[in-house]
């Protein structure tokens, strides 16, 4: 049955397309067999703008992953993101028929359907509906009401929805390579699977996954998703800012950001200059280090402020007991933690995928958090499917298959 337990997570990111082949054991351990990667072309802000190029990148990444893991990939779980993805919390309620009074599977499905009965824009589709809490006859905080007695069942769901066609485009991009897409997962949800453990989800935590084109964030409290969101600002924006601010080409700006960039102000010597060496097609130049840092600092500070504004109405910050986790490729920028701490005023840590084994270089790299998270999510869904537990119910409306 080894074949059944292998899941492939695929992420079509703005800076890279990566595929993770993971073996998922019964006990929940995820072992990475191989990670395939290809620099991304034709993707901006997490969404495909050049179908053919993006499709080629997917093919490259998948064949790279096949080579490294020695597994033939036939189907993948795909992570999606983009500014069109939105979320909200909604409550559904059903009345239990008087004659039995016991809450059954049927009622629980019905309450979920009720919660999803909301007016979405016509072109939108629900990607996830994640249970937060059940209420049985007004009794709060029921985790699993199956088998309980009651007259009225209510439930709070966190619903994540997005534009159908845009998600379908991502799926079609993979299907171009004759690979089946089993399901799609929203980036933030996937990242949280490997970045947070159960205790952290209970204590309350914010995961901010800053990628190349977008920033995905998700708030857990009392073990349930309380808020999630996507902000179409990422590392690309920093590069773009540097390019405009220092008047250097994009490629040089990217290199400068990675090699020299820092988000901490006031640490450089006054008037300290960075000498950019001649490059192909670029004559050398001197840039001021403080200016570079100021550009990065301003962008990150603003980004975190928007994230904070995004969830501040839903969840009081002081309830996030486990603090804030930063992940994603952009979290590698020097000084990002200090900026985040100054904005959120609470402990911030840089994290990567936990509870996975395999090549350390892969899972300890925050760039792969989402992709590994997709594989883990797949495992969680698969393992819990037979018992139909409250977490991890996924909806196959998008693919319309299986």
């Amino acid at each position: 049955m080894a074949r059944e337990d292998i899941h492939v997570g695929l992420e079509i990111g703005t800076s890279k397309v990566c595929a993770v082949v993971a073996e998922c054991r019964e006990d929940g351990e995820v072992r990475l067999l191989g990670v395939g990667e290809s620099p991304s072309r034709g993707v901006r802000k997490g969404e495909i703008i050049d179908f053919e190029n993006a499709s080629n990148c997917v093919r490259e990444a998948l064949s790279d992953a096949e080579e490294r893991s020695d597994v033939e990939i036939r189907d993948v779980w795909l992570s999606v993101t983009g500014s069109h993805i939105e979320s909200f919390n909604n409550r559904g309620s059903v009345t239990i028929p008087e004659d039995c009074g016991e809450i059954t599977e049927e009622e629980m499905q019905e309450v979920e359907l009720k919660a999803k009965e909301i007016s979405l824009p016509k072109e939108n589709i629900i990607l996830h509906s994640i249970i937060q809490h059940y209420y049985v006859d007004g009794q709060q905080g029921v985790l699993n009401p199956l088998g309980m007695l009651g007259g009225r069942l209510e439930a709070d769901f966190h619903i994540i929805h997005g534009v159908r066609t845009r998600i379908q485009n991502a799926i079609r991009c993979v299907k171009e390579c004759d690979i089946e897409v089993l399901d799609v997962v929203v980036n933030s949800l996937a990242s949280a699977q490997v970045v947070l453990d159960k205790h952290e989800k209970d204590a309350g935590a914010l995961v901010v996954d800053i990628g190349g084109g977008v920033t995905d964030y998700i708030v857990y409290l009392d073990g349930a998703v309380r808020h999630s969101g996507v902000l179409a600002v990422g590392g690309d924006h920093i590069t773009n800012d540097i390019s405009i601010g220092l008047r250097i080409p994009i490629t040089r700006a990217e290199k400068l950001k990675v090699e020299e960039g820092s988000a901490i102000l006031g640490k450089s010597l006054p008037g300290e200059k960075i000498v950019l060496k001649n490059d192909t097609g670029f004559s050398g130049k001197e840039v001021e280090r403080e200016m570079l840092n100021l550009i990065i600092h301003s962008r990150l500070k603003e980004l975190f402020e928007h994230v904070r504004k995004g969830f501040a109405g839903e969840v009081p910050e002081h309830l996030l007991g486990a603090g804030i986790m930063l992940t994603g490729g952009c979290s590698l920028i020097r000084g990002i933690r200090e900026v985040a701490e100054s904005v959120f005023d609470m402990p911030v840590q840089l994290t990567h995928a936990h509870d996975v084994s395999g090549p350390t270089s892969a899972f300890e790299n925050p760039r792969f958090s989402t992709c590994i998270g997709v594989a883990k999510y797949a495992q969680a869904v698969r393992s819990e499917m037979p018992q139909e537990s409250f977490f991890g119910k996924i909806f196959r409306k998008i693919t319309g298959k299986r």
Partner: protein, 433 residues
């Protein structure tokens, strides 16, 4: 045994006295008295009793109470001179005991123009080093005043060890064109005050790399040429850079453009004890880049004991090199903008320390009319002017930048809360380095 003047002895703190002569001088004296405490004694000297009595200077000398009856010279240098003659004893008393005298005056009026020469004479007789800080009147004040100012300036130049001469016309550029009259005058006064304060600091402050009087005199030795002066202070994170930037912003430096015409340039950097060597290096590098290769730089560094004191960068110099025998007549011909007509010679000889007074101040006055120049010299000079002129045109940086989104130009914008997040944050916040 050769005895040196007392002001050359660095073991004792020199007694510095500032004499504000005439209305403008009294104003400046007031400003300096009320400003940050400096190791100097301020004396206000005027023939106008009204201005004297409203002055806050600790010491006051009333000029010619019998000649003017305390009503001032009324713009007539003759009356000013008579008044000074009448009060010569009082002036001498006020000057006695000083090692260094700063004579501050606004030339062109009656009191300052008439009495300046006299006061300068008395100061020299008392054995002090005399540094004159004078302004010439605005062009619109009339030619008569300009002529009076020019005569007085020559008198001072003949006597003073160093003359720092500001043209009011150029100082007015300090203030915005629409600024009020009071604002403009106060900006001019502030610049003068800053100049005197930094000179005092420069002479009096001990430091690891002290600039002495010899350096100062060497820089100010050239009798012609425009005075270059700029000072800037900053306490910020990027203080070295900001202080230099502020110093270069001075209109007397033409935003740093005139630096490359300076024959001698004195750079004085003072700061808190934490002033780092790297910061000094940064400042000097920047100046080095803007100055011409032939400019002789005099660097002075001083640190104060107070950790909260800002980094102050002071630039002082004169356009053109030292008075060159062959270049002198041309200098006189193009006295309007001599420095632009005569590029500095490739190698300005390093001035010796403690120069003799005869060398310092040229006493020869060459009236233009009496010494006509041969035609070729004039033509050459014109050519030189024409040649150097195009270099002066500097490409201005465009202030207004259109909103730019760079690589996100053609794709769906990220608009959050009405703000286009694709536009660089620092541009939206208008943070420029």
């Amino acid at each position: 045994m050769i005895t040196f003047p007392k002001y050359l002895d660095r073991t004792v703190q020199p007694v510095v006295r500032l004499v504000g002569l005439g209305n403008a001088g009294v104003n400046l004296a007031d400003r300096i008295t009320m400003g940050a405490p400096l190791p100097l004694q301020v004396v206000a000297v005027n023939s106008d009793q009204q201005s004297l009595s409203s002055s806050v200077a600790p010491a006051k000398v009333s000029l010619g109470p019998l000649t003017t009856r305390g009503l001032g010279a009324g713009g007539d240098p003759e009356i000013g001179f008579d008044a000074a003659k009448e009060s010569a004893v009082e002036i001498e008393d006020a000057l006695s005991g000083a090692d260094i005298v700063f004579l501050c005056a606004g030339l062109g009026g009656g009191t300052a123009s008439g009495a300046a020469g006299m006061v300068a004479d008395l100061a020299k007789e008392s054995g002090a080093l005399l540094i004159a800080v004078v302004t010439s009147p605005f062009a619109f004040e009339g030619r008569r005043r300009s002529a009076q100012a020019a005569t007085a300036l020559r008198e001072i130049q003949a006597r003073a060890d160093a003359v720092i001469h500001f043209e009011n016309d150029r100082m007015a550029e300090l203030a915005a064109p629409r600024a009020g009259v009071a604002e403009t005058f106060s900006a001019c006064d502030a610049l003068l005050g800053g100049c005197v304060a930094s000179l005092v600091r420069l002479v009096a402050a001990p430091g690891p790399l002290a600039v002495g009087l010899p350096d100062l005199l060497a820089v100010l030795r050239s009798p012609t040429g425009t005075c270059l002066f700029g000072t800037g202070a900053s306490k910020g994170d990027n203080r070295a850079h900001e202080a230099l930037e502020a110093a270069l912003k001075s209109p007397l430096l033409d935003s740093g453009a005139l630096l490359d015409q300076a024959g001698n340039l004195l750079v004085h950097i003072s700061g808190p004890p934490g002033l780092s060597f790297a910061e000094v290096g940064v400042i000097m590098q920047e100046i080095e880049r803007q100055a011409s290769t032939s400019t002789l730089l005099h660097l002075g560094v001083a640190t104060s004991a107070d950790p909260s004191s800002p980094v102050v960068v002071t630039l002082l110099g004169k356009t053109g090199a030292e008075c060159h025998p062959s270049a002198a007549p041309v200098d006189v011909i193009f006295s309007a903008r001599p420095a632009r007509a005569v590029p500095p010679p490739p190698s300005a000889p390093a001035p010796e320390a403690a120069p003799l007074q005869e060398e310092l101040v040229p006493t020869v006055e060459v009236p233009v009319a009496r010494q006509p120049l041969p035609e070729p010299v004039l033509q050459r000079a014109h050519k030189a002017a024409a040649k150097t002129a195009p270099e002066k045109i500097k490409q201005e940086t465009l202030q207004f930048e259109p909103v730019t989104r760079g690589r996100f130009e053609k794709i769906e914008p990220t608009i959050v809360g009405g703000e286009d997040l694709d536009v660089p944050t620092f541009l939206r916040l208008n943070k420029r380095g």
